[in-house]
Amino acid sequence: MKETDNKTGAPAAGFLRGVWENAGMALVFAAMFAAAAMFVPYFFTVTNMKGLALSVSMVGMGACTMLFCLACGHFDLSIESIVAFSGVLAVVVANALSGSMSSFSSVALGMGAGVLAGTLVGVMNGVIVAKFGINALITTLATMQIVRGMALITSGGKAVGISDENFYRLGLSDLLGVPTPVLITVACFVIFGFLLNRTTFGRNTLAIGGNEQASRLAGIAVDRTKIAIFAMQGMVAGFAGVVLASRLTSGQPNIAQGFALEVISACVLGGVSLTGGVGTMPGVIVGVLIMGMVQNVMNLLAIEAFWQYVARGAILLSAVLFDRWKQRRFHR
């Protein structure tokens, strides 16, 4: 605000450089998007935008809370199993209750059960990490296995079909042409972005990741904050699982393998530090969008499956290298 540009030039140029310097990945994204819109046929069409938005909706939801988790210096691999388990559980519960009560209640209770289960797993992760001081990678790797097992056991290893069509609404309806899952993801971006910037909880999260000891000495309830973060993460993953089940019209125990890594990568691409303390919601959104767009463009261009691997890796690498080059160049 009252900082002044102490290097050179007119204020306008200074302002532009300010945008350029701070926008980082957002610029990379804008450039990629513009290029795709110009050169990739069908990219900039309503149908494709809808498809693109849908394809990133899950990762987007997960990334919102993963941002908190990484910002406080931790890690959560278990979300991928939670997505599967909560979906399966929601369907199983809803199916079991249907008939004995109104359609609305059975579906709501089923979904509630899914979200609750996710939250409980999150709380467990949080307690183990915060109270017992176990490394989050090991903890969530273990709960990831346990929860995947539970998903398989609950479903008998088979997809469980949804018997009540009201369940589909969450995933298959839309509002003014925007699919509900996309709206939910946008809502998550807004809510969690707000939580990060405008509440003490969010600031404490960053403080803990930036210097846990200092935070503890400043009287921040470090353990409680961590548990809340993991619980939130579990809850959102659980909710994402329910939405996915509704989109797929069934609960699938094998789904979402590799989801956690994808979410973490999107966050890191968006500038979230793996060692904690640094991260912003706009950054995460850009990270999520870049990852989704790369895949979308490759599908549109019908790149050979094997070459897709190479292209995906190369584009990811170029994006971060470009961002770094830009930073070096302008920040000395």
Binding site: P41, Y42, T45, T47, N48, K50, G51, L54, S55, M58, L152, G156, G157, K158, A159, V160, G161, I162, S163, E165, L172, P179, L244, R247, L248, T249, S250, Q252, P253, N254, I255, A256, Q257, G258, Q295, N296, N299, L300, A302, E304, A305, F306, Q308
Partner: protein, 325 residues
């Protein structure tokens, strides 16, 4: 035809004495319903015939090697395997021989170093290419039956080329469609990034974006999940049972789709018969160990089309509905 009589002890021509017969059953993806069924039927055989079944899941070559070592340590006399990769054949065969284990491969046939099928290894299964061809043929026939016009119709081929079997299946479907007269250039490939349903949805969505001109879609893929993902994506773009004709492979992952009140674009699936793959292989192995009766080198099963109308009956016949409800 289970011979309930257990004959403990007594050396048999096969050569195993007092010890109880133990048979291993290794599968590549234990979480998949198909393999769950195979195991379930093998389990049934073990109850009927009185041997011990040891089930191990092994997702890649290294795990397979470890699993065979475990079986050897566990004093099994033979094992049945659905290998994660057919080219592991020589390694598996060598390892089995080194450990003195009898070997029967199921589902996917081993391929030797020379690229030819290893016909000397006992095998029961179904040709991936053939079942794919079946899908293609059925799609074609059903399309004709519905009277869809060729110019409005295109094929969405959900591919996952990283997996050998998956590619064989989709290539089979491709071949038979082309052979029947479907224009090659209207068979569009949608490569999946992941083999699960969300992966299929994203791939299908991108393809649909590119071909707004197509009015009716035929869908094929490596399994039910891939095809169901495509159906979900099509529904998202306003397609329905009227203008979608999708056929999966497996028949066990799609039952919930048939149970829906209204028909969807998912027309049917090629049911593989896990009962034969599970029960018969176990039985063959048991007899081989116990009496020394060598099973036939090559046994083939066939895929059966199940649809909304026929699935209940066929599944019941196959013993696949008893755990429902």
């Amino acid at each position: 035809e289970g011979c309930k009589a257990r004959k403990p002890g007594g050396a048999t021509p096969g050569g195993v004495a007092v010890e109880k017969i133990k048979i291993g059953f290794i599968v590549k993806q234990p979480e998949e319903p198909w393999f769950q069924y195979e195991w379930q039927f093998a389990e049934a055989a073990s109850k009927d015939l009185g041997f011990e079944l040891i089930k191990i899941g092994a997702g890649d070559g290294e795990k397979v090697m470890a699993a065979i070592d475990n079986l050897a340590a566990n004093r099994t006399q033979g094992f049945i395997i659905c290998t994660p990769d057919v080219r592991l054949g020589p390694a598996i065969a060598a390892k089995a021989k080194a450990n003195g284990l009898k070997l029967l491969s199921v589902d996917d046939q081993f391929v030797g170093a020379d690229g030819k099928f290893m016909t000397d290894v006992h095998y029961l299964g179904i040709s991936a290419r053939k079942i794919g061809q079946n899908v293609g043929k059925t799609l074609w026939e059903e399309m004709k039956k519905r009277g869809w016009k060729m110019e409005e119709t295109a094929v969405m081929m959900m591919t996952f080329d990283e997996l050998d079997t998956a590619r064989e299946r989709t290539e089979g479907a491709f071949e038979s469609l082309v052979e029947a007269g479907f224009p090659k250039e209207k068979i569009y490939k949608a490569p999946q990034k992941t083999s699960d349903q969300p992966g299929a949805i994203d791939a299908a969505n991108a393809l649909l974006t590119k071909h707004p001109e197509v009015k009716r879609w035929l869908v094929a893929g490596m399994n039910d999940s891939a095809v169901l993902g495509a159906v979900r994506a099509l529904e998202g773009q306003g397609f329905n049972a009227e203008n979608t004709l999708a056929i999966g492979i497996n028949g066990t992952d799609c039952i919930f789709e048939f149970e829906k009140e209204k028909p969807t674009g998912f027309f049917g699936s090629m049911l593989l018969a896990p009962k034969r793959h599970g029960y018969e292989t176990a039985e063959m192995m048991f007899k081989w160990i116990k009496d020394g009766t060598e099973p036939p080198k090559d046994t083939r099963t066939v895929g059966m089309l199940i649809t909304r109308d026929t699935y209940k009956q066929i599944l019941a016949e196959q013993g696949l509905l008893k755990d429902k409800k």
